[in-house]
């Protein structure tokens, strides 16, 4: 009995420190040389992440087909929180990313489970998350993001099917995921690029009134331009450890007269160690350049607001 327990005790460290090596394979959706290239790049990247996590070091990208923006994006996340790939053998669907004309412009894999390994106690959020990896047409890794919940994904693909603009909705989902990750990664450059120079940012604030009227809340709105908003964001990024931003209940509405404009309404959860809030965010995306869409409007309203007062495309005059 003692021997068995001793053996178990010796095995325990092995069980707890799982191997860093990750095998990766696509089950379907892609064939040929590019499949092998993508599988190799993915396996190497996931293994490199695990190795870096084990050694508490930076990720070594040598030998991995990954573009600078993607590695920088992972690096920014790594500066705020480490993570580890849960499975050592991954088999997944390969999804095609298409332009609005239906041409394949890249590929994507979703559902890669990771366990967050916070650097300190500033981390607030789920320990178990999933990431998605994007590839360009040659199989090089072009992006890496923490995904939104499955419910969001399911809802968006179902609506895309119903309204026959699945490819565009998948693009929007990807950009919304990048937008969310940019907060978590404190990626101010992404924010600089994604907001249109003449973007309008509207922030609502609940005004507490005592003994005044029957209205439960009153909201005061502040408008800002892009640079003003980004200056505030820079301060927030600087003063906080990990920022966990969650997007839920996403709804996408296409503008009736301007088909390249989409209104995206979502519930945003903002969690930092010392402050958290929830609100309704409405974003107007201009997809005229589908490879670099721009945010024209971003609004934040408190959750307590009446449904009829939530901003929609109708509230903004788009030129």
């Amino acid at each position: 009995m003692k021997k068995i327990l001793l053996a178990l005790a010796m095995l325990l460290p092995l069980a707890l420190h799982a191997q860093d090596e990750v095998a990766f394979e696509f089950s379907d959706g892609i064939n040929g040389n590019i499949k092998a290239t993508m599988e190799q790049n993915t396996a190497r990247l996931l293994t490199a992440i695990n190795r870096a996590e084990s050694k508490n070091a930076d990720i070594n990208y040598s030998g991995i087909g990954i573009d600078n923006l993607a590695s920088q994006s992972i690096g920014m996340m790594w500066n705020n929180v480490h993570f580890r790939v849960v499975d050592d053998d991954i088999v997944e669907h390969c999804l095609r990313v298409k332009s609005s004309s239906g041409a394949v412009i890249g590929y994507q894999v979703r559902n890669i489970a990771v366990e967050m390994k916070p650097l300190d106690n500033s981390y607030v959020g789920d320990r178990n998350q999933e990431v998605c990896i994007n590839y360009d047409r040659n199989g090089k890794i072009s992006d890496f993001n923490i995904t939104m919940g499955m419910q969001q994904y399911l809802r968006i693909i179902k609506e895309g099917e119903k309204l026959n603009d699945m490819d565009r909705r998948m693009q929007i989902l990807h950009w919304v995921e990048q937008f969310r990750n940019a907060y978590c990664q404190k990626d101010i450059n992404f924010m600089e690029n994604v907001f249109s120079d003449d973007a309008l940012i509207v922030t609502g604030k609940v005004v507490k009134r005592e003994h005044t009227d029957m209205k439960p809340i009153s909201v005061e709105y502040t408008t800002q331009g892009k640079q003003q908003y980004l200056a505030g964001l820079r301060r927030v990024f600087k003063n906080n450890g990990y920022i966990n931003v969650k997007f839920d209940d996403i709804e996408i509405v296409r503008h009736g007269a301007k088909p390249n404009y989409y209104g995206v309404t979502l519930k945003q959860g903002w969690f930092t160690k010392n402050y958290s809030d929830e609100g309704i965010v409405f974003i107007v995306w201009d997809f005229t350049d589908e490879f670099q869409p721009k945010i024209m409007v971003r609004t934040w309203q408190p959750m307590q607001i009446d449904d009829s007062e939530v901003f929609t495309l109708n509230n903004f005059k788009l030129n």
Partner: protein
């Protein structure tokens, strides 16, 4: 005490690894369609996983010529045959669901949904919205629809509910043989069946094939049956009076297709 905890941990980890391995085996097999979801509650994960599976099924149907040409497609036994595996992932529940491609079959203009086991996907008219019946229906129902021309005449006379609740036979084919059969059944006509047989022969999966008039042993051969316009009607397995009809997985015989065009072939073993 710590060692007991260690033993428990190892046991738990081993179980999760076994499930994970099982999941990957299924994912690697080309015989299945699959989907999964990881969520806070198992029920929620199961529901999302099934929805995603139905999306997979719809994509599969759209990419399959024989299925996309059908008025309706019956996915047999999604809730029972389309099994699910679940495991914990940290504090989250991972649910993996899958269905055999072979259990997705074309049926003609009558849809019958057998509550707990089957899911019907009604194929839309061109340009129309696809609707999915994913919620359980308490009783077997029939949707009366006007008869329409179809490429599956043998199923036209038989409501799908009868077909799925009585007389189904299990395919004796497994592995690559079943894949070969599925790929042949996906061929719309004689030309593409010939091309597929050629391809399978080059891969040593078909030993030989030929026209009906030069078959050395009709009993031992599989038979692909075509209608007057050359469209594939079904494929019958070897046998005499009881051959498996691989289109609807019921017994049939060559004599039922007397006068129709046919190609025979022998599968390699």
């Amino acid at each position: 005490m710590a060692l007991v905890a260690a033993a428990l941990l190892i046991g738990f980890s081993a179980t999760a690894q076994t499930t994970s391995k099982q999941i990957n085996q299924i994912k690697r097999s080309p015989l299945y369609l699959y989907a999964e979801a990881t969520m806070e509650s198992e029920t929620e994960a199961q529901s999302v996983a099934y929805e995603l599976l139905l999306q997979q099924v719809q994509e599969y149907i759209a990419s399959s010529k024989s299925l996309s040409a059908a008025d309706n497609v019956l996915i047999k036994d999604v809730k029972t045959k389309g099994e699910s595996l679940s495991m914990m992932r940290g504090e989250m529940h991972r649910v993996f669901v899958y269905v055999k491609k072979y259990d997705i079959e074309a049926v003609s203009n009558t849809v019958a949904v057998n509550n707990n086991t089957n899911t019907a996907v009604n194929l839309p008219a061109q340009g129309a919205t696809t609707t999915t019946q994913s919620t359980p229906v308490p009783t077997v129902t029939e949707t009366p629809a006007p008869a329409q021309p179809t490429s599956q005449p043998q199923q036209q006379q038989q409501p799908a509910a009868t077909a799925t609740t009585t007389g189904k036979v299990e395919s004796p084919l497994t592995g690559w043989q079943q894949m070969a059969m599925v790929s042949l059944l996906e061929c719309p006509d004689m030309t593409s069946v010939r091309a597929k047989l050629n391809r399978l022969k080059a891969e040593y999966k078909i030993k030989r094939y030929g026209n009906a008039d030069n078959c050395p042993s009709a009993t031992d051969a599989y038979w692909a049956i075509f209608d007057g316009s050359g469209k594939l009607v079904t494929i019958l397995g070897p046998g005499t009076t009881q051959r498996i009809d691989y289109k609807n997985m019921q017994y049939s015989s060559l004599s039922e297709y007397k006068g129709m065009n046919a190609l025979w072939f022998n599968l390699a073993k």
